[in-house]
């Protein structure tokens, strides 16, 4: 299991478009990828749930990746976040 945190730098937060893109990336991997903000936690593949978390600019989220391809998956998510969020 791999854990890391990330602070959102996009002014709009995780709005519809990046939530969709994130779900697309997450679906590529077998690992379960969770996004956590405070008490809320959701699978990155679930676009509605991610949007529903209301992740804003400046929020720090914790990402947990668990599964056989967790190394590749966490790298991909990290890169995605750096580039898009």
């Amino acid at each position: 299991m791999i854990n890391f945190s990330y602070t959102i730098k996009d002014k709009l937060g995780i709005h519809a478009r990046p939530a969709g893109m994130l779900a697309k990336v997450a679906k590529v991997y077998k690992s379960n990828i969770y996004i956590e903000k405070g008490e809320k936690r959701a699978l990155a593949t679930k676009i509605i749930a991610i949007m529903g978390m209301g992740i804003h600019y400046g929020d720090t989220v914790t990402i947990t990746v668990d599964g056989e391809d967790e190394n590749d998956a966490s790298e991909a998510i990290k890169n995605f976040m750096k580039e898009n969020l």
């Binding site: 730098k9 996009d10 002014k11 709009l12 937060g13 709005h15 519809a16 478009r17 939530a19 969709g20 779900a23 697309k24 699978l43 593949t45 679930k46 676009i47 509605i48 749930a49 949007m51 529903g52 209301g54 804003h56 400046g58 750096k82 580039e83 898009n84 969020l85």
Partner: protein
């Protein structure tokens, strides 16, 4: 006759026939089912047809509104396939043993109310996306064709509000107006109306939509926000008179197409257009601008996911220059900053973005980024009449540094035997009080000035232009601003340089004559303002004393 008053979002008037869209929320039948498996299969099948519909809409939107606008339909597709959403529908069917349509409507309610309960307005608005996809799914389940309302010509679309997927699927050729109960100036309806040059009135209230019927005659005035349903003879007469007047006014502007921009006493003015990308070129040519006075090159960066390469930029600049076939094109180098976020620049968050790290400051700090853009510009220069200008200048040193980087680029290109034009004019934006005050020192360094009034006003009056509370303090006609403009013009002319204005003030017709009397040589405005400003210029006589107002 019924009258309503809302907010006009595009200045035009028309009379047409009402075509109602999504008038009432149709009641979704609820009934028990024996065969749960069959209902689940129906949902799967409906989802597949809904997704293929969205694929079609996406393709249509791509050609009509571009990729950014079309992306919403990709999101809709993903929402339809969202695990939680699908599971909610399946569970309702399994547990309550009810029909699929009803299960979808329950999921629609629960997910849309989740978004409505969120604390930011952007997310609250996503509730309409949930309802939009659910309605599509229900339509597929019930094998309903969308109620197209009335068809024929001169249709006025009436609705509570328009969902993005609805605006894309409308037959644009038959529509002469929009009237909606809700919506904002930035809603899809408003944007569409402006793109189509037809009147739209929004915010007419709940009563409006319950008062109109398909086939009613409706008159809408996009200037005043007035809407008349089944207008009586007198009202009809008045509206037809207004339409005629509007037509004459617009026709008059039409006659100015192809005419010179010249005052009555013979002073020629350069009347240029501002653009943000190649998409606006059509409008520039249509409105007959004498050139491009401001090409905001930052849009190339904002729309890109990574630093746009020299070749990508070269292709865009070349296209603009070629399209303008020899007319002047002034391209402003990158004006990116803390409020215009580009992730790959990795800029730090700032307390005062407007007083922050932006434009030429970043370019001089990151010469590689700047050089890529300048190389692309110089290479493109042989395809037309290019001028380059630098934004946010406050000191002569900045100008000298930028110019010496230009010299480096020229040497580089020379050594690679790559051609560039040798008559490229280089200017600067005067948009800080500092640059206006020392414009006498700056003028000898450059070929021209272009006054950016939006920032000049914000910095001179210390009024953040993003803060709506300050709107009433930010007097755009403030004497301090006008004196800085006058002083800048005087300094430019004293050194034999020309000076233009490219901010919003350039399209303020109440100031046009004053600017001309200051000796302003060039005005650059949104394409749609070119003809109205040309009209004012052609009616101005600088040899006579200014009429006291």
């Amino acid at each position: 006759m019924l009258c309503f008053k809302g907010k006009g979002v595009y200045g035009a008037i028309s009379i047409g026939v009402v075509s109602l869209l999504n008038k009432t929320e149709e009641i979704i039948p609820r009934f028990s089912v024996e065969n749960v498996e069959n209902e689940l299969r129906r949902v799967d099948k409906a989802r597949m047809s809904a997704i293929s519909q969205l694929d079609e809409i996406y393709k249509k939107a791509l050609t009509e509104v571009g990729e950014t606008g079309a992306q919403i339909f990709e999101i809709h597709k993903m929402m339809l396939e969202d695990e939680d959403y699908c599971e909610a529908i399946e569970n309702t069917i399994k547990i309550q043993r009810v029909n699929a349509e009803y299960a979808v409507s329950i999921a629609s309610d629960s997910f849309s109310s989740m978004f409505e309960g969120m604390d930011d307005s952007y997310m609250q608005a996503r509730a309409s996306d949930v309802r939009d996809i659910s309605l599509r799914l229900i339509d597929c389940l019930m094998d309903r064709k969308k109620n197209k309302g009335e068809s024929g010509n001169n249709i006025v679309i009436c609705a509570t509000d328009l969902a993005p997927s609805e605006t894309v699927t409308l037959d644009k050729n038959s529509i002469c107006g929009f009237a909606t109960s809700y919506g904002s100036v930035n809603s899809h309806t408003s944007i569409l109306a402006r793109n189509m040059n037809i009147p739209a009135v929004i915010g007419l209230g709940d009563n409006f939509i319950t008062s109109v019927q398909n086939g009613d005659t409706i008159a809408i005035n996009g200037y005043t926000g007035e809407v008349f349903i089944n207008p009586d003879d007198n009202a009809l007469k008045e509206i037809n008179r207004l339409i005629e007047e509007d037509k004459n006014k617009k026709h008059l502007l039409e006659t100015l197409r192809g005419k010179e921009t010249i005052t009555l006493d013979g002073k020629k003015i350069k009347l240029y257009a501002n653009i943000g990308g190649v998409d606006n070129l059509g409008s520039v040519l249509y409105n007959d601008a004498d050139g491009i006075g401001l090409f905001r090159s930052e849009f190339i960066y904002l729309e890109s996911r990574d630093y746009p390469s020299e070749n990508e930029q070269f292709a865009i600049y070349k296209r603009v220059l070629e399209a303008m076939s020899g007319k002047r094109v002034i391209i402003r180098t990158l004006d990116i900053g803390a409020d215009k976020q580009v992730d790959y620049f990795d800029l730090k968050k700032e307390e005062n973005p407007a007083l922050g790290y932006r434009a030429i400051r970043i370019c001089l700090d990151r010469p590689n980024v700047f050089k890529t853009q300048l190389r692309a510009l110089f290479r493109a220069s042989i395809y037309g009449n290019l001028s380059i200008m630098f934004p946010m200048i406050i000191s002569p040193d900045e100008v000298r540094s930028a110019l010496s980087i230009c010299d480096e680029i020229k040497k580089e290109l020379d050594s690679e035997s790559i051609r560039y034009a040798n008559d490229i004019e280089i200017g600067i934006m005067i948009e800080t009080p500092a640059s206006a005050v020392i414009s006498d020192t700056l003028a000898p360094l450059v070929d021209f000035f272009s006054i950016g009034t939006n920032d000049l006003i914000q910095y001179t009056l210390a009024c953040d232009r993003q803060n709506p509370l300050l709107e009433k303090f930010a007097d755009t006609h403030h004497e301090a601003v006008l004196r800085l403009i006058k002083y800048t013009a005087d300094c430019a002319h004293a050194h034999g340089k020309w000076v233009g204005i490219c901010g919003e003030l350039a399209s303020d017709t109440s100031l046009t004559e004053r600017f001309l009397r200051m000796g302003i040589d060039e005005l650059s405005v949104s394409p749609t303002f070119v003809l109205p400003i040309r009209k004012v210029i052609r009616e101005t006589d600088l040899s006579k004393k200014e009429a006291t107002k």
